[in-house]
Amino acid sequence: MSVAELPRRHYLNANYNIWSWLLTTDHKRIAILYMISLTLFFFVGGAAAILFRLELMTPQGDLLISETYNRLFTLHGVVMVFFFLIPSIPAVLGNFLVPMMIGARDMAFPRLNLLSWYLFMAGGILAIAAIVGGGVDTGWTFYTPYSTTYANSQVMAMAMGIFVAGFSSILTGMNFIVTTHTMRAPGMTWFRLPLFVWSHYATAVIMVLGTPVLAISLALIALERGLGVGIFDPKLGGDPLLFQHLFWFYSHPAVYIMVLPSMAVVSEIVPCFARKRIFGYSFIAFSSVAIAVLSFLVWGHHMFVSGQSVFAGMVFSFLSMLVAIPSAVKVFNWTATLHKGSISLETPMLYALGFIGLFTLGGLTGLFLATLAVDLHVHDTYFIVAHFHYIMVGGAVMGYLGGVHYWWPKMTGRLYPEWWGRVSAVVVFVGFNLTFFPQFVLGYLGMPRRYHVYPDEFQVLNVMSSAGASILGLGYLIPLVYLLWSLKYGKAAGPNPWNAKGVEWQTPSPPPTLNFDETPVVTEEAYAYPPLDESSAEGEPLEPVAN
């Protein structure tokens, strides 16, 4: 097929009018809208990170003044958490794929889906306005009473931005749950659902039940800051720890909003490139649900040294330990899926395997933080920073990139250049580890987080970390370039370039506006890859690329 043309009518070329995009209710187009806006936010947040990593090359605060430094790390945190990571996989890949994977024509509430993009953008614009109007210096955690009484920056605008974006998250979650319940194609029983859908369902539960608590805690901050109503500031009679309870009730589960969808992606990629049914389907499915529930019981481990009672500390430590088990089960099952497979290392698989490794380390270091006496030492140090970046960047972002590569042919009808893809995966993996592994050591040595100047003896490790950050930054730029390139010059993909199982691969790429020319009827389990021959040299091959 010639490179330039895809003569069929599909969701991308159905209409070129700008309003056909801005007023679309097609979940696939909304996913693309999200992808574009998220990419912008990602590079805004990333630029901030590069700037303050440069600052941290030297122990003296010589590149930036502390006000700027504080605003930059707040910007990085807020933008990356609320405007990239939380919506990343659900709003882009989930939006695109959940209806397709269950054989539906759209989400249950297409107009709410569009509304949620607009809410997201409105929140994003408020956040950008807050940044342009002077920035925010509270950290993304908005701890009271600093944020309510002392911070001399645009806290209100930023809190409002997050508040509004929160409703976008709630609506997305609501849509996933209802879609999964009511829109499944004939034959698509719960235990035939791809694990991607199970994970997104679990994510949606967290979005729906956690986000409103964040919303109310931000609203209370606004009340206290704006009207002098004293709920969190001890000087006005309040208690600052109440904010931490409410905030972490959402923000700990929010970590699972970021990583569960990544697990969803990995659960699709690993069986495809191992040519094998996933090991322990039901265990992975239920572990997603278990994570969603348990994640709400552990928030107090952010508060072990906050003045929370010793008793509460013990309760939360115990519960935090439990959430490790479903995560461990997942990792073991993915690894076991590789056993006796027929493995090939295309770009998505490299990202997925990278995810497993980094998530394992990130998860295990999480146990250090759940262990009370060790948390006493590492709390609020770079150990924490390293840990959650292993989860959020090593986990969530690797999963996002893996997923984008895996479904790129489906979304755009084009193949990305495989060689460059592999290079980027390796560069990201190396850059990531160089950036964040030294931070574990720094943290145990005692370097507190959010420090603008630091004692000289920490410099060597900081320089390593900054060097890694520049490699990591490069690693993120490469895919941006070649993915854009492939939109015009990539080879046409065909409906199923990976020879993968799953309903979404049965429709042409890019899919028609209503996803399927006729409603698919599901007759087999997910991942029903044909059995590999005993002691054979080959599994079933990947289909030769788009001939």
Partner: protein
């Protein structure tokens, strides 16, 4: 303090050793599983790579369940060990022995003010004797701070409006970093200090000597020099409110509002006395603006702070100038 490059922090307290032991256990578990997963992935990817000859016959039946249960129970067991061990140690860190040296710590943006029991004060440094348990009673004047000494492996947030405590027992003399670990605003990273652990004899000498005049003493002589006592220390003279225990009290003003007598209020009352006059008094006090500098204001305030509240005195008549103090000594 030792500023050379290192990969493991110094152990300088009794807790440090215990925490490190637990840390090494955790490190072992984490390394084992990370390596296990990593090596398994590499091994499988090589052995079962597409195109390689390998036995791919699938196992079936119950082994699947046995595996799932095994790899759920082993992590469960290990995490329970971590929980138990960590909680036990945590509990100990929160149970100070009875014979502690008690020291007060006031945190504010962006400094640590240390007050030893005998009244000796220091800023951004804390002198303690080696081998003796020390208990800190801490409070913040503004936002949340966190008292963190890496070499002691202890950390405790310092809250406004409520005391928190922490204790440790240094095992080595030397100088150690003190950090504020909870983000507290612009100069958060400069809110650092050092812990100076000395031999008991050295410490005793430090406690006794060296101090130039304390701020309270300096404030007291200023108080005498400006003859503040002529009005304020005269219980029969109704022109001025008495200042005993003034600091931190709720003051009712002429306009009916109340505020707390904090540093800012005391400073204003010295430099601009008619701005906020206590209810029941006339604005007769002269201003001292231009006559004394900020440093002296600090000293005066330190002296006023040191004045004990009066013994339960019954007000004679008229509106009581002060209301019951709030349960915290915070500014409104």
């Amino acid at each position: 303090m030792d500023t050379s490059f290192r990969l493991f922090p110094e152990q300088a307290s009794t807790a440090a050793e215990q925490v490190d032991r637990l840390y090494v256990f955790l490190l072992g578990v984490a390394s084992f599983f990370t390596l296990l997963i990593f090596l398994l992935i590499v091994y499988f990817v090589i052995k079962y790579r597409h195109g390689a000859r390998a036995d791919r016959s699938q196992v079936s039946g119950n082994r699947y369940w046995i595996l799932e249960i095994t790899w759920s129970l082993i992590p469960l067991g290990l995490t329970m060990i971590m929980f138990g061990w960590g909680a036990d140690l945590f509990f100990k860190v929160h149970q100070p022995p009875p014979d502690c040296i008690e020291i007060n710590v006031l945190a504010k943006q962006w400094m640590w003010k240390i007050q030893h029991a005998d009244g000796k004060q220091e800023i951004n440094s804390l002198h303690i004797p080696v081998g003796k348990p020390v208990k800190l009673r801490m409070i913040s004047q503004d936002v949340i701070h966190s008292f963190f000494v890496p070499s002691f492996r202890v950390k405790q947030d310092v809250l406004p409006g409520r005391y928190t405590t922490i204790w440790f027992q240094p095992t080595k003399t030397g100088r150690y970093h003190l950090f504020c670990a909870e983000y507290c605003g612009t100069s958060h990273s400069r809110m650092t200090g050092e812990i100076v652990v000395q031999q008991p004899a050295e410490y005793a000498q430090w406690l006794r000597g060296a101090s130039s005049e304390s701020p309270e003493a300096a404030g007291e002589s200023l108080y005498d020099q400006f003859r503040c006592g002529t009005c304020h220390n005269n219980p029969t003279n109704p022109r001025c409110p008495p200042l005993d225990g003034i600091f931190g009290r709720m003051v009712r003003l002429e306009d009916g509002s109340t505020l707390q007598a904090d540093e800012a209020y005391l400073r204003e009352s010295i430099l601009d006395p008619t701005a906020q006059v206590v209810a029941g008094y006339k604005p007769v006090m002269p201003t001292y603006k231009g006559q004394i500098g900020e440093e002296e204001v600090f000293q005066l305030i330190a002296y006023l702070k040191s004045l004990q509240p009066p013994q339960q005195r019954t007000p004679k008549s008229g509106p009581p100038p002060f209301e019951t103090p709030n349960d915290t000594d915070q500014q409104p």
